[in-house]
Amino acid sequence: MGSATRFMGLVLLRSSASLRRFHLTIDELHFAGVLSLIIIIVSGLFVGLVLGLQGYETLKRYGSAEAVGTLVALALVRELGPVVAALLFASRAGSAMTAELGIMKSTEQLSAMEMMAVDPFARVISPMFWGGFLSMPLLAAIFSVMGIFGGYLITVVIIGVDSGAFWSQMQSSVDLRNDIINGVIKSVVFGAAVTAIALFEGYDAPPTAEGVSHAVTRTVVTSALAVLALDFVLTAFMFTGV
Protein backbone atom coordinates (compact mmCIF):
# COMPACT_ATOMS: atom_id res chain seq x y z
CA MET A 1 0.00 0.00 0.00
CA GLY A 2 2.82 2.35 0.87
CA SER A 3 4.66 1.64 -2.35
CA ALA A 4 1.42 1.99 -4.29
CA THR A 5 0.91 5.46 -2.83
CA ARG A 6 4.50 6.42 -3.59
CA PHE A 7 4.03 5.09 -7.13
CA MET A 8 0.89 7.18 -7.67
CA GLY A 9 2.65 10.22 -6.24
CA LEU A 10 5.49 9.76 -8.73
CA VAL A 11 3.02 9.31 -11.60
CA LEU A 12 1.23 12.55 -10.75
CA LEU A 13 4.47 14.40 -10.01
CA ARG A 14 6.05 13.54 -13.34
CA SER A 15 2.88 14.10 -15.32
CA SER A 16 3.72 17.75 -15.94
CA ALA A 17 6.82 16.63 -17.85
CA SER A 18 4.81 14.13 -19.85
CA LEU A 19 1.88 16.45 -20.55
CA ARG A 20 4.34 18.85 -22.11
CA ARG A 21 5.00 16.16 -24.70
CA PHE A 22 1.33 15.61 -25.32
CA HIS A 23 1.71 13.28 -28.31
CA LEU A 24 2.70 10.51 -25.88
CA THR A 25 -0.64 10.90 -24.13
CA ILE A 26 -2.37 10.97 -27.52
CA ASP A 27 -0.75 7.63 -28.34
CA GLU A 28 -2.15 6.21 -25.12
CA LEU A 29 -5.56 7.78 -25.75
CA HIS A 30 -5.56 5.97 -29.06
CA PHE A 31 -4.56 2.73 -27.40
CA ALA A 32 -6.90 2.90 -24.38
CA GLY A 33 -9.77 4.81 -25.97
CA VAL A 34 -10.05 4.35 -29.71
CA LEU A 35 -9.22 0.64 -29.69
CA SER A 36 -11.79 0.06 -26.91
CA LEU A 37 -14.51 1.79 -28.92
CA ILE A 38 -15.73 -1.30 -30.76
CA ILE A 39 -16.28 -3.40 -27.64
CA ILE A 40 -17.88 -0.45 -25.81
CA ILE A 41 -20.26 0.37 -28.66
CA VAL A 42 -21.30 -3.23 -29.30
CA SER A 43 -21.78 -4.17 -25.66
CA GLY A 44 -23.57 -0.88 -24.93
CA LEU A 45 -25.98 -1.58 -27.74
CA PHE A 46 -26.70 -5.09 -26.52
CA VAL A 47 -27.08 -4.04 -22.87
CA GLY A 48 -29.61 -1.44 -24.05
CA LEU A 49 -31.47 -4.01 -26.14
CA VAL A 50 -31.72 -6.41 -23.22
CA LEU A 51 -32.74 -3.68 -20.77
CA GLY A 52 -35.42 -2.45 -23.15
CA LEU A 53 -36.80 -5.93 -23.73
CA GLN A 54 -36.80 -6.99 -20.08
CA GLY A 55 -38.11 -3.64 -18.89
CA TYR A 56 -40.89 -3.71 -21.44
CA GLU A 57 -41.98 -7.23 -20.51
CA THR A 58 -42.14 -6.32 -16.82
CA LEU A 59 -43.66 -2.85 -17.14
CA LYS A 60 -46.31 -4.11 -19.56
CA ARG A 61 -47.97 -5.98 -16.70
CA TYR A 62 -48.54 -2.70 -14.89
CA GLY A 63 -49.76 -0.95 -18.00
CA SER A 64 -46.93 1.55 -18.01
CA ALA A 65 -44.81 0.37 -20.91
CA GLU A 66 -43.95 4.00 -21.76
CA ALA A 67 -41.88 4.21 -18.60
CA VAL A 68 -39.36 1.89 -20.23
CA GLY A 69 -37.45 4.95 -21.47
CA THR A 70 -37.03 6.14 -17.92
CA LEU A 71 -35.93 2.71 -16.81
CA VAL A 72 -33.32 2.30 -19.54
CA ALA A 73 -31.95 5.82 -19.19
CA LEU A 74 -31.71 5.83 -15.39
CA ALA A 75 -30.20 2.36 -15.21
CA LEU A 76 -27.60 3.21 -17.83
CA VAL A 77 -26.69 6.72 -16.78
CA ARG A 78 -26.55 6.03 -13.06
CA GLU A 79 -25.11 2.54 -12.85
CA LEU A 80 -24.58 0.34 -15.87
CA GLY A 81 -22.84 2.88 -18.08
CA PRO A 82 -19.97 3.71 -15.72
CA VAL A 83 -19.72 0.23 -14.15
CA VAL A 84 -19.89 -1.99 -17.22
CA ALA A 85 -17.73 0.40 -19.22
CA ALA A 86 -15.16 0.34 -16.40
CA LEU A 87 -15.20 -3.47 -16.25
CA LEU A 88 -14.76 -3.73 -20.01
CA PHE A 89 -12.10 -1.07 -19.88
CA ALA A 90 -10.22 -2.99 -17.16
CA SER A 91 -10.22 -6.20 -19.14
CA ARG A 92 -9.59 -4.58 -22.53
CA ALA A 93 -7.13 -1.78 -21.79
CA GLY A 94 -6.07 -2.30 -18.15
CA SER A 95 -4.79 -5.83 -18.74
CA ALA A 96 -2.84 -4.68 -21.80
CA MET A 97 -1.26 -1.83 -19.82
CA THR A 98 -0.17 -4.24 -17.10
CA ALA A 99 1.28 -6.68 -19.61
CA GLU A 100 3.11 -3.94 -21.46
CA LEU A 101 4.66 -2.49 -18.32
CA GLY A 102 5.45 -5.91 -16.87
CA ILE A 103 7.25 -7.03 -20.02
CA MET A 104 9.06 -3.71 -20.29
CA LYS A 105 10.24 -4.32 -16.76
CA SER A 106 11.20 -7.97 -17.24
CA THR A 107 13.13 -7.22 -20.42
CA GLU A 108 14.80 -4.39 -18.49
CA GLN A 109 13.58 -1.67 -20.84
CA LEU A 110 12.64 0.48 -17.86
CA SER A 111 16.12 0.10 -16.38
CA ALA A 112 17.64 0.89 -19.76
CA MET A 113 15.65 4.12 -19.89
CA GLU A 114 16.92 5.08 -16.47
CA MET A 115 20.47 4.34 -17.64
CA MET A 116 19.92 6.78 -20.50
CA ALA A 117 18.64 9.37 -18.03
CA VAL A 118 15.13 9.09 -19.49
CA ASP A 119 12.59 9.05 -16.73
CA PRO A 120 10.30 6.03 -17.34
CA PHE A 121 7.58 7.74 -15.33
CA ALA A 122 7.56 10.79 -17.55
CA ARG A 123 8.12 8.83 -20.77
CA VAL A 124 5.87 5.77 -20.32
CA ILE A 125 3.82 5.55 -17.15
CA SER A 126 2.32 9.04 -16.80
CA PRO A 127 1.08 9.17 -20.41
CA MET A 128 -0.54 5.77 -19.87
CA PHE A 129 -2.26 7.06 -16.76
CA TRP A 130 -3.59 10.19 -18.42
CA GLY A 131 -4.64 8.26 -21.50
CA GLY A 132 -6.73 5.90 -19.40
CA PHE A 133 -7.99 8.64 -17.12
CA LEU A 134 -9.22 10.79 -20.00
CA SER A 135 -10.71 8.04 -22.12
CA MET A 136 -12.77 6.36 -19.39
CA PRO A 137 -15.50 9.07 -18.96
CA LEU A 138 -15.79 9.38 -22.74
CA LEU A 139 -16.15 5.62 -23.10
CA ALA A 140 -18.80 5.53 -20.35
CA ALA A 141 -20.77 8.33 -22.03
CA ILE A 142 -20.59 6.54 -25.40
CA PHE A 143 -21.69 3.33 -23.67
CA SER A 144 -24.72 5.05 -22.13
CA VAL A 145 -25.74 6.72 -25.37
CA MET A 146 -25.41 3.45 -27.28
CA GLY A 147 -27.43 1.68 -24.59
CA ILE A 148 -30.21 4.25 -24.74
CA PHE A 149 -30.17 3.96 -28.53
CA GLY A 150 -30.43 0.18 -28.15
CA GLY A 151 -33.36 0.54 -25.78
CA TYR A 152 -35.00 2.94 -28.23
CA LEU A 153 -34.42 0.50 -31.08
CA ILE A 154 -36.03 -2.47 -29.39
CA THR A 155 -38.95 -0.76 -27.68
CA VAL A 156 -39.92 1.98 -30.13
CA VAL A 157 -38.84 0.67 -33.50
CA ILE A 158 -39.49 -3.04 -33.03
CA ILE A 159 -42.13 -3.37 -30.29
CA GLY A 160 -43.88 -0.11 -31.04
CA VAL A 161 -43.95 1.90 -27.81
CA ASP A 162 -44.88 5.52 -28.52
CA SER A 163 -41.71 7.40 -29.33
CA GLY A 164 -42.87 10.72 -27.85
CA ALA A 165 -43.77 9.10 -24.55
CA PHE A 166 -40.46 7.25 -24.50
CA TRP A 167 -38.42 10.45 -24.75
CA SER A 168 -40.62 12.73 -22.67
CA GLN A 169 -40.88 10.32 -19.74
CA MET A 170 -37.13 9.91 -19.91
CA GLN A 171 -36.54 13.64 -19.97
CA SER A 172 -38.91 14.37 -17.12
CA SER A 173 -37.23 11.90 -14.79
CA VAL A 174 -33.53 12.15 -15.65
CA ASP A 175 -31.95 15.11 -13.92
CA LEU A 176 -28.80 16.80 -15.22
CA ARG A 177 -27.04 17.29 -11.90
CA ASN A 178 -28.36 14.35 -9.93
CA ASP A 179 -28.06 11.66 -12.56
CA ILE A 180 -25.81 12.67 -15.41
CA ILE A 181 -23.15 14.63 -13.56
CA ASN A 182 -23.00 11.95 -10.87
CA GLY A 183 -22.64 9.28 -13.55
CA VAL A 184 -19.75 11.22 -15.08
CA ILE A 185 -18.12 11.60 -11.65
CA LYS A 186 -18.43 7.86 -11.19
CA SER A 187 -16.77 7.12 -14.50
CA VAL A 188 -13.93 9.54 -13.74
CA VAL A 189 -13.31 7.82 -10.39
CA PHE A 190 -13.44 4.37 -11.98
CA GLY A 191 -11.09 5.45 -14.76
CA ALA A 192 -8.52 6.71 -12.25
CA ALA A 193 -8.87 3.57 -10.10
CA VAL A 194 -8.62 1.05 -12.95
CA THR A 195 -5.68 2.77 -14.63
CA ALA A 196 -3.82 3.19 -11.33
CA ILE A 197 -4.33 -0.47 -10.44
CA ALA A 198 -3.25 -1.65 -13.90
CA LEU A 199 -0.10 0.49 -13.91
CA PHE A 200 0.91 -0.41 -10.39
CA GLU A 201 0.42 -4.14 -10.97
CA GLY A 202 2.54 -3.92 -14.11
CA TYR A 203 5.24 -1.89 -12.43
CA ASP A 204 5.23 -4.16 -9.38
CA ALA A 205 5.18 -7.45 -11.33
CA PRO A 206 7.99 -9.94 -10.74
CA PRO A 207 10.18 -9.84 -13.87
CA THR A 208 9.33 -13.32 -15.09
CA ALA A 209 6.82 -14.64 -17.60
CA GLU A 210 4.81 -16.15 -14.78
CA GLY A 211 4.99 -12.94 -12.76
CA VAL A 212 3.60 -10.91 -15.67
CA SER A 213 0.75 -13.35 -16.25
CA HIS A 214 -0.17 -13.26 -12.56
CA ALA A 215 -0.01 -9.47 -12.59
CA VAL A 216 -2.44 -9.31 -15.52
CA THR A 217 -4.87 -11.61 -13.71
CA ARG A 218 -4.57 -9.53 -10.56
CA THR A 219 -5.25 -6.35 -12.53
CA VAL A 220 -8.53 -7.62 -13.89
CA VAL A 221 -9.69 -9.13 -10.58
CA THR A 222 -8.61 -6.20 -8.41
CA SER A 223 -10.04 -3.57 -10.72
CA ALA A 224 -13.35 -5.41 -11.00
CA LEU A 225 -13.60 -5.59 -7.22
CA ALA A 226 -12.46 -1.99 -6.81
CA VAL A 227 -15.01 -0.75 -9.37
CA LEU A 228 -17.88 -2.58 -7.69
CA ALA A 229 -16.86 -1.51 -4.18
CA LEU A 230 -16.31 2.11 -5.24
CA ASP A 231 -19.64 2.03 -7.01
CA PHE A 232 -21.38 1.04 -3.82
CA VAL A 233 -19.64 3.78 -1.84
CA LEU A 234 -20.35 6.46 -4.45
CA THR A 235 -23.97 5.38 -4.83
CA ALA A 236 -24.43 5.52 -1.09
CA PHE A 237 -23.17 9.09 -1.12
CA MET A 238 -24.94 10.28 -4.26
CA PHE A 239 -28.36 8.73 -4.43
CA THR A 240 -29.47 8.40 -0.83
CA GLY A 241 -30.99 11.13 1.24
CA VAL A 242 -31.90 13.29 -1.73
Partner: protein, 158 residues
Protein backbone atom coordinates in the same frame (compact mmCIF):
# COMPACT_ATOMS: atom_id res chain seq x y z
CA UNK B 1 0.25 3.58 -37.65
CA UNK B 2 0.91 6.93 -39.28
CA UNK B 3 1.04 9.90 -36.96
CA UNK B 4 -1.71 11.80 -38.77
CA UNK B 5 -4.17 8.89 -38.97
CA UNK B 6 -3.58 8.17 -35.30
CA UNK B 7 -4.24 11.80 -34.39
CA UNK B 8 -7.35 11.72 -36.55
CA UNK B 9 -8.71 8.66 -34.76
CA UNK B 10 -8.03 10.15 -31.34
CA UNK B 11 -9.78 13.31 -32.50
CA UNK B 12 -12.78 11.32 -33.67
CA UNK B 13 -12.86 9.42 -30.38
CA UNK B 14 -12.72 12.54 -28.21
CA UNK B 15 -15.33 14.29 -30.35
CA UNK B 16 -17.62 11.27 -30.14
CA UNK B 17 -17.20 11.11 -26.35
CA UNK B 18 -17.92 14.80 -25.85
CA UNK B 19 -20.86 14.56 -28.26
CA UNK B 20 -22.18 11.63 -26.22
CA UNK B 21 -21.98 13.74 -23.07
CA UNK B 22 -23.91 16.51 -24.79
CA UNK B 23 -26.55 14.08 -26.01
CA UNK B 24 -26.93 12.79 -22.47
CA UNK B 25 -27.25 16.30 -21.09
CA UNK B 26 -29.64 17.70 -23.69
CA UNK B 27 -31.67 14.83 -25.06
CA UNK B 28 -31.86 12.50 -22.06
CA UNK B 29 -31.67 14.94 -19.19
CA UNK B 30 -33.72 18.09 -19.17
CA UNK B 31 -30.92 20.60 -19.02
CA UNK B 32 -33.22 23.37 -20.17
CA UNK B 33 -35.37 23.35 -17.06
CA UNK B 34 -32.43 23.40 -14.67
CA UNK B 35 -30.96 26.76 -15.58
CA UNK B 36 -33.92 28.92 -14.75
CA UNK B 37 -32.02 32.09 -14.11
CA UNK B 38 -35.00 34.27 -14.94
CA UNK B 39 -37.43 33.10 -12.33
CA UNK B 40 -39.23 34.23 -9.24
CA UNK B 41 -39.90 32.42 -6.03
CA UNK B 42 -43.25 32.21 -4.27
CA UNK B 43 -44.15 30.26 -1.17
CA UNK B 44 -47.33 28.23 -1.00
CA UNK B 45 -48.74 27.03 2.31
CA UNK B 46 -50.38 23.64 2.37
CA UNK B 47 -52.10 21.71 5.14
CA UNK B 48 -50.77 18.47 3.73
CA UNK B 49 -48.43 17.94 0.83
CA UNK B 50 -48.83 14.17 0.58
CA UNK B 51 -45.94 12.71 -1.38
CA UNK B 52 -44.74 15.92 -3.04
CA UNK B 53 -40.98 16.08 -3.47
CA UNK B 54 -38.49 18.81 -4.26
CA UNK B 55 -37.92 19.26 -8.04
CA UNK B 56 -41.49 18.19 -8.78
CA UNK B 57 -42.93 20.19 -11.67
CA UNK B 58 -45.26 23.17 -11.25
CA UNK B 59 -47.88 23.08 -13.97
CA UNK B 60 -50.57 25.43 -15.12
CA UNK B 61 -53.06 24.06 -17.63
CA UNK B 62 -50.68 21.16 -18.09
CA UNK B 63 -47.72 23.36 -19.07
CA UNK B 64 -44.63 23.12 -16.89
CA UNK B 65 -44.02 26.65 -15.59
CA UNK B 66 -41.57 25.92 -12.77
CA UNK B 67 -40.23 23.52 -10.19
CA UNK B 68 -40.64 22.92 -6.48
CA UNK B 69 -37.50 24.33 -4.91
CA UNK B 70 -37.76 23.07 -1.37
CA UNK B 71 -40.25 21.97 1.24
CA UNK B 72 -40.24 22.81 4.93
CA UNK B 73 -42.58 22.69 7.88
CA UNK B 74 -43.63 25.90 9.62
CA UNK B 75 -43.83 24.92 13.29
CA UNK B 76 -45.94 27.95 14.26
CA UNK B 77 -49.03 26.75 12.45
CA UNK B 78 -47.86 23.26 11.41
CA UNK B 79 -48.41 23.92 7.76
CA UNK B 80 -46.03 22.91 4.99
CA UNK B 81 -44.20 25.75 3.24
CA UNK B 82 -43.50 24.80 -0.35
CA UNK B 83 -41.17 27.16 -2.20
CA UNK B 84 -41.98 27.28 -5.91
CA UNK B 85 -39.58 28.66 -8.48
CA UNK B 86 -41.58 29.88 -11.44
CA UNK B 87 -40.28 31.03 -14.81
CA UNK B 88 -40.40 34.84 -15.31
CA UNK B 89 -42.11 34.32 -18.65
CA UNK B 90 -45.25 33.22 -16.81
CA UNK B 91 -46.56 35.93 -14.50
CA UNK B 92 -49.49 34.88 -12.29
CA UNK B 93 -52.05 37.15 -10.60
CA UNK B 94 -51.67 37.60 -6.88
CA UNK B 95 -54.79 35.66 -5.99
CA UNK B 96 -53.73 32.55 -7.94
CA UNK B 97 -54.28 29.25 -6.21
CA UNK B 98 -52.04 26.24 -5.94
CA UNK B 99 -53.12 22.66 -5.48
CA UNK B 100 -51.30 19.36 -5.24
CA UNK B 101 -52.37 16.96 -7.95
CA UNK B 102 -51.34 13.52 -9.08
CA UNK B 103 -50.32 12.66 -12.63
CA UNK B 104 -52.29 9.56 -13.53
CA UNK B 105 -53.40 6.98 -11.05
CA UNK B 106 -50.02 6.07 -9.62
CA UNK B 107 -47.96 8.89 -11.05
CA UNK B 108 -45.84 11.56 -9.51
CA UNK B 109 -47.38 14.41 -7.57
CA UNK B 110 -47.04 17.92 -8.89
CA UNK B 111 -48.24 21.40 -8.06
CA UNK B 112 -51.04 22.79 -10.21
CA UNK B 113 -51.42 26.58 -10.48
CA UNK B 114 -54.70 28.21 -11.35
CA UNK B 115 -54.64 31.84 -12.30
CA UNK B 116 -56.82 34.31 -10.43
CA UNK B 117 -58.25 37.67 -11.41
CA UNK B 118 -56.13 40.15 -9.50
CA UNK B 119 -54.70 43.16 -11.31
CA UNK B 120 -51.31 42.75 -9.72
CA UNK B 121 -48.98 39.89 -10.43
CA UNK B 122 -47.05 37.72 -7.98
CA UNK B 123 -43.66 39.05 -7.00
CA UNK B 124 -40.55 37.32 -5.69
CA UNK B 125 -41.15 36.18 -2.12
CA UNK B 126 -44.95 36.42 -2.16
CA UNK B 127 -47.04 33.83 -0.35
CA UNK B 128 -49.90 31.92 -1.88
CA UNK B 129 -52.77 31.67 0.58
CA UNK B 130 -55.36 29.85 -1.49
CA UNK B 131 -54.18 26.29 -1.66
CA UNK B 132 -55.68 22.86 -1.88
CA UNK B 133 -53.86 20.02 -0.16
CA UNK B 134 -53.00 16.65 -1.52
CA UNK B 135 -55.65 14.00 -1.28
CA UNK B 136 -54.54 11.45 1.28
CA UNK B 137 -56.26 8.18 0.58
CA UNK B 138 -56.59 7.16 4.24
CA UNK B 139 -58.35 10.41 5.09
CA UNK B 140 -60.76 10.07 2.20
CA UNK B 141 -61.59 6.50 3.20
CA UNK B 142 -61.90 7.60 6.83
CA UNK B 143 -64.33 10.37 5.91
CA UNK B 144 -66.28 7.99 3.74
CA UNK B 145 -66.60 5.41 6.54
CA UNK B 146 -67.46 8.13 9.06
CA UNK B 147 -70.15 9.42 6.73
CA UNK B 148 -71.54 5.93 6.24
CA UNK B 149 -71.59 5.30 9.99
CA UNK B 150 -73.37 8.59 10.59
CA UNK B 151 -75.86 7.73 7.88
CA UNK B 152 -76.74 4.34 9.38
CA UNK B 153 -77.00 5.69 12.95
CA UNK B 154 -79.37 8.48 11.89
CA UNK B 155 -81.26 5.93 9.81
CA UNK B 156 -81.88 3.79 12.91
CA UNK B 157 -83.26 6.73 14.90
CA UNK B 158 -85.98 7.42 12.44
Amino acid sequence: MQRTTLDLWVGIFVTAGVAALFVLALKVGNASSVNMSDSYRVIAEFDNIGGLKARAPVKSAGVVVGRVENISLDTRNFRANVALRIDKRYPFPRDSSASILTAGLLGEQYVGMDGGGDEQNLKDGDRLKITQSAIVLEKVIGQFLYGKAAETSTGKKE
